[in-house]
Symmetry: C2
Subunit: 470 residues, 2 copies
């Protein structure tokens, strides 16, 4: 690599280091020069979507599989079409880096009546809009600090699990920056927990565990976003507590896990699952996100007040909040500590309904019901599948399907934008092909939702030699 | 009509009075109850678009033909997908009424973690975003004032020629309002000009006209938006000055008008048109909008400083601004006054190039060039056609086509969002069918742009028994 490289190349070198191997978006005259640098970086490819909404959904789907993604659009006309997708990523804690090619600093200062502006000299409007739906929104304004700003924004997206917005004036793209900046990798590690608060919290949770006869674990959306699935499984292994998932937490624990008890959705749960969760005398809730669709319209009815919530930035025990006690570190501590206080605990039986698909009897003469469909689909899944389901019938239905092995479920349960699933499936297909060329992405959608973003099918065709429409 | 009607019905009764006979948008659970009221109003129909971006483009296209339009979306996931279309309407001065069905006042106050929210209790985010790209954004918060607020917002859109945003909490839709409010029509008339300022401006323009040997009229975008085409034609009739159009002003004057001289785009003009405009010693510019694409990248080169600009809110003579001298009224005054001071004026010859298509000779062996195409297309147009051209090759090319009779040209020259034209054509098709069932809408686009909003084709199919793909 030369000593100095263009800022445009720097951006893609960094993304490559972060495992972002596909870049989504559309060309436009304020980002064309940037896109030309993709080819300079081995390991990064351009997806080239059909429109920006689909691109933003694709970036969201990709990030849910690979942990981070990048979307590139152009000033005004491009970026605004991605607003819905970015807002969804914000709502659902998905880290998408949105880079927007914008007019030069000179044109901006001159308030020129350029195309793609509102014609009134306000060049900062779009950034102001995106500031509302991203963790942070910045404009690159100095080539000497630009690499640092990009690094910081990439880190912010990764650590906060939220989208960020970077406006890149086109005059900076070819400006040179030192290549050796790339030698220091971007630090993505979390800071440690507050040791005193963590110790108190662990002690309190141990006390509650000793007293509990019937504790459960409930895994939710932010366990997936914070990528603690392995810790969740270890916690279930070590404690043998029954473990349940919410709709947004589905695939936070392998459903082949011997202690997996089913999906809990308040009053919409299977009766035996509802009973098992609501009769617990201690609930360890990991990454909870209590939206209406995720909770059966807020119908949780725990009989106990002994609820411990593990979040990305804090832990809450009953009403007490322990700030700066992040789920990653305290779960590690509990996996070590809890087995020592489980002397009296006898593992309870699990609900039977989640395994009902195994005994499914099919009579060809009977009508195909939703219940039949989703049970039957359970036998179709392979352990590495990625199952994307659309808001509505598909997302509600798939709750009752069994995900074997490491199946990843993707659904926009909180934000619930129809059309999302098709775009997200396209993005997930790029991620899947990077992880394992045989990995399947399966989209469940309705014909109404499908028409919103149908172009996404063409976006992902290059990923597959075969595609089946069922 | 009963004495009291639901607010939902009131909205559509008012739209009907304003000539908005088609409503664009998509259903969603916060606007469903509103949409149910459309059927109660004879003369208003639901377009039912495939996605919100396409719906917003359709509403823009409809408003450019009929003078006002309405788009209905749902909270968050719906409205945000329309952001690009609404921003375009703002930039290009197109009055679109955007009504968004939002959660109830109770849910909003309770900051419930509802679907379609960002999950953080901020229910006002989307309105804040749209406040940046609309003339005015409001939330209905009281049933007693709601009819008045709707009336005011409808008037604001019409008078300012900009989009407005109205968030309608779903709890108000079925609330009753007095039906007799509908008897007083919404006042859409402009206030009068400042009489003193107008008199001074008219006097000054008359002086300049007496001194001029070679005055011209240049018609631009806002002449169309303010619907002064008849006054523009009368001014040309009465003065016999050559009249030119900008790309955004194309169809502001019939190109069959005996004094129509061609389209002026700075350095991109035909040489004889460029010479005719730039050698003028008085330019009467009506509704000027000086964006880069509209001016050949800011390449106007008038040899005179005698430029009079007529705008919707003021008139500018050389450097002097006459506030509150609106184009509508001062043009009427000038049509009366100017003929009296034209004693010495001899009408100059017009450029020949705009009529060149008439002598076009076609040799089947020759390649089809852009120049050939657009000249040839000129003979294909019928006088009532609506010609929609996409940003890029189509919009640049159509400048040289001849529009006969009352052809309406639609192109998003300033904002320049690709994909716009297909959606706008769909919207224009609804407007056209309301004006004259035989009126044709002709879309010029490229295969790249077409893929962004291709669903719009299905949106407008119900308008036509035949559709031709050329």
């Amino acid at each position: 690599m030369p000593e100095k490289i263009a800022l445009g190349r720097y951006v893609f070198e960094r993304l490559n280091q972060l495992g972002v191997n596909t870049v989504f978006g559309l060309p436009g005259d304020f980002n064309l020069a940037l896109l030309d640098h993709i080819d300079e970086v081995d390991g990064v490819r351009w997806a080239g979507n059909a429109n920006e909404l689909n691109a933003s959904y694709a970036a969201d789907g990709y990030a849910r599989v690979k942990g981070l993604s990048c979307l590139i659009t152009t000033f005004g006309v491009g970026e605004l079409s991605a607003a819905n997708g970015i807002a969804g990523s914000y709502a659902e804690h998905v880290p998408v880096i949105h880079i927007v090619g914008v007019p030069t600093v000179k044109a901006t200062k001159g308030k020129l009546l350029l195309h793609h502006t509102l014609g009134d000299g306000r060049f900062d409007v779009y950034k102001k809009m995106f500031a509302q739906i991203t963790e942070k929104a910045v404009t690159i304004d100095d080539i000497t600090t630009a690499p640092h700003v990009f690094d910081e924004m990439f880190r912010t997206a990764y650590v906060t699990k939220r989208p960020v917005y970077i406006a890149l004036p086109s005059n900076f793209i070819e400006e040179k920056v030192p290549a050796d900046l790339l030698e220091d990798k971007i630090d993505l590690t979390l800071g440690p927990n507050d040791p005193q608060a963590e110790e108190e919290a662990v002690e309190e949770i141990m006390k509650m565990t000793v007293a509990a006869k019937n504790p459960i674990i409930l895994v939710d959306a932010c366990a997936l976003r914070n990528e603690v699935q392995d810790l969740v499984a270890q916690l279930a292994d070590e404690t043998q507590f029954p473990i349940f998932a919410t709709p947004m937490g589905k695939s936070g624990i392998s459903e082949d896990h011997p202690r997996f008890g089913g999906v809990y959705v308040g009053v919409l749960s299977k009766p035996d699952v509802k009973e098992a969760v609501e009769s617990a005398d201690l609930v360890l809730s990991i990454g909870g996100l209590l939206s209406d669709y995720n909770t059966g319209s807020f119908s949780y009815e725990y009989s106990t007040k002994n609820v411990v919530e593990f979040h990305s930035g804090y832990t809450k025990i009953k009403s007490a909040i322990y700030n700066d006690v992040k789920m990653q570190w305290i779960l590690e501590k509990l996996i070590e500590s809890l087995p020592n206080v489980l002397g009296d605990y006898t593992p309870v039986d699990l609900p039977a309904s989640p395994q009902a698909y195994k005994s499914l009897v099919v009579e060809p003469s009977e009508p195909i019901t939703q219940s039949f469909l989703w049970n039957r689909v359970s036998t179709f899944f392979k352990p590495t599948d990625i199952a994307v389901s659309e808001t509505g019938t598909s997302a509600f239905g798939i709750i009752q399907a069994h995900f074997p092995g490491q199946v990843i479920g993707i659904s926009q349960v909180l934000f619930g934008s129809i059309g999302y699933a098709t775009g997200a499936a396209a993005g997930a297909s790029f991620a899947a092909s990077e992880l394992n060329p045989n990995r399947r992405v399966i989209l469940f959608t309705g014909e109404g939702s499908f028409q919103l973003t149908t172009q996404s099918v063409s976006d992902c065709l290059q990923q597959y030699s075969t595609m089946e429409l069922l």
